[in-house]
């Protein structure tokens, strides 16, 4: 079979038609990224400054472009399987931020009635968010089964599964790859390579920096390496794969190179990161700033409307939290219904 390794460069305006892109879609990508960032900033504040939220939370700072690229590829009926670092996926799916805050607060008004919390946030079946695993890597074989069902029932839909670079070290990843490649399911594996596996640089665990790519290839799964800080790059890779995916020719992988701007969890200040690394990425590679600048430079958006997008996102997030605060938890007796 054909093994396909290539680097995808950012498309320019002339490629819009071919990629089914238009200006509205670009602006939507930006808005999605900005909304995710605004949500995560509020979440971080509620944990660290106000202490209103407690328990683990793995923030999506830095990976927003990946969610935004995927969002614009998804069709109704496509399904998303996520992981512990999934707040961005939840926003991407269009789950109301007020429900997400209610979930983080542990309230019955949450999308998971307060049963799941941060690590399962992107679950809302009506929105295509089918499942999210808090155990690193375990979502992968599950996603294979989901995609198998789509193929078996000839739906033409695809499953998107998110995984981190660290997850490729798990047994579940390996066995998931065995199953995916053997069953030829319509599954897009999106590796959000944010360079850190918890407190450890992923590179320190690998003998070769291309290990993640080699792993996909060794299971006969084609892989594209993209700039995970650029939503167009992620989107374009999915478009390249679309026919293959929707016609049931099998799984594909995308390695989206990005950078985790924060610690592993919300409380982790990441003292193990090299001095100046975060600052460097923030200044040069922040996906939102980079993309916003490009849209301004290419004349797709004005400075004023850009400001309005940021302002609007912030306001809607504040409003969502105010609404969520009014909730209350389920009673313990009610829990039996969910077992």
């Amino acid at each position: 079979m054909k093994i396909n390794v290539s680097h995808v460069s950012t498309p320019i305006k002339s490629e819009f038609d071919k990629l089914d892109l238009h200006e509205n879609k670009l602006i939507d990508m930006l808005k999605t990224m900005v909304l995710i960032r605004a949500f995560e900033e509020k979440v971080e504040e509620l944990y660290l400054k106000e202490g209103v939220l407690i328990g683990p939370a793995h923030l999506y700072f830095g990976s927003e472009a990946i969610a935004a690229g995927v969002k614009n590829f998804l069709q109704r009926g496509d399904l998303v399987i996520s992981h512990h670092r999934g707040h961005g996926h939840a926003i991407m799916l269009g789950i109301e931020p007020s429900k997400l805050f209610a979930e983080l607060l542990g309230f019955r008004e949450g999308n998971l009635r307060g049963l799941g919390g941060s690590m399962h946030l992107p679950i809302d079946v009506s929105k295509g968010g089918l499942y999210a695993s808090a155990i690193v890597g375990s979502q992968i074989p599950i996603a294979v089964g989901v995609a198998f069902s789509q193929k078996y029932r000839k739906t033409g839909h695809v499953t998107i599964v998110f995984l981190g670079d660290g997850a490729t070290n798990t047994g579940a990843f390996a066995e998931g790859m065995v199953m995916a490649s053997f069953l030829r399911v319509p599954l897009a594996l999106i590796c959000e390579d944010n360079k850190y596996a918890e407190f450890t640089r992923t590179a320190d665990l690998f003998v070769d920096e291309d290990v993640v790519i080699q792993r996909f290839l060794s299971y006969n799964i084609p892989v594209l390496i993209v700039d995970g800080n650029d939503p167009l790059s992620v989107y374009k890779a999915l478009k390249i794969y679309e026919n293959e995916l929707r016609s049931g020719k099998g799984p594909v992988a995308i390695v989206a190179n990005t950078y985790r701007l924060k610690g592993h969890g919300v409380y982790d200040k990441a003292p193990y990161k090299p001095l100046g690394e975060v600052e460097l990425y923030s200044r040069l590679k922040d996906p939102i700033l980079t993309f916003a600048n490009r849209l301004v430079n290419e004349g797709i958006i004005t400075h004023d409307s850009l400001d309005a997008i940021f302002e609007e996102a912030k306001k809607s997030i504040e409003k969502a939290f105010e609404e969520a605060k009014k909730g209350s938890p389920l009673s313990i007796e009610e829990l039996y219904f969910y077992v």
Partner: protein, 322 residues
Amino acid sequence: MKISHIEACRQGIMEEMERDNSIVYIGEDVRKGGPHGFSKGLYEKFGHERVIDSPISEIGLVGFGIGAALEGLKPIVEIMYMDFLPIAMEQIVNHMAQARFLTAGQKDLPLVIRTQYSLGRQHGPQHSQFFPSLFTNVPGLNVVVTSTPYNCRGLYKHALRQNKPTIIIDPAWIYYRFVDEVPERDYEVKFGKANLINEGEDVTLITFGRTVYESIQALKQLPKEVSVHLVDLQSLKPLDIEAIVRAAKKTGRVLVVSEEHPHSSVASYVASLIYEYCFGELEKPIKVLTPPDIHVPFSPMLEKTYMVTSDKIVKAILELAE
């Protein structure tokens, strides 16, 4: 019709697969019937889309089943030996059992994992184990153990008509040994109901799995004046607590028999329930008969000594009846 246990299991599964297109059967070597011929004929009848030979990837296999069940299918995932189930323990405990909880009731998980334990078949320490309490300890799972041609056919049918994640365990030792009359009509054996095999007055015997067969033999060996109230639990979770309590009160002398390791076993839980609900009505302390807390030895002579045989059951009954 008079059929063997394995034939009855297969019939139950085949009839449900005919009835319901969303059932797919996946496991190692299943197209060739597997090492015991359990799935013989399924591939010929239902084809490659519905009967799938899996790689030796138990984590992948169970994960696959969870995903397929989340998205509208009713997969039967065959794990060849119960000893291989712990390979997929993470998938079972964190995902299979929790899917409904984690989706806050948005999704049920009609996944059936079927497996067998080969105790008594000289398969050695890693192909003979029986540890249902590893799974009954987890909320959200149905755990059932078949024991007769009648109940296995009905339990498989019921498993495939309900929506909760289920682990069905067959004692392979009885696959071909236990041949019995089974009605041809369609019937289900519902979970959460124990089966009263024999009405008796002197001693209550509560058991499940392979030792149901041994208990039936034991009843034949007993002197006529001792009558035994024999209950097969069938469904370990949900557990028929009412039937357990009723049976215990009937005689006040209770023997719980199982082939689990004794510590934190289903048998010990059953005993604790009886103490909790009818302590005052017991005439003697409950007796729990299990193998010792030792791994299953290969040596055919030692394995036989290790197991719970009808002779041991007879001895325990007579001690209680005294």
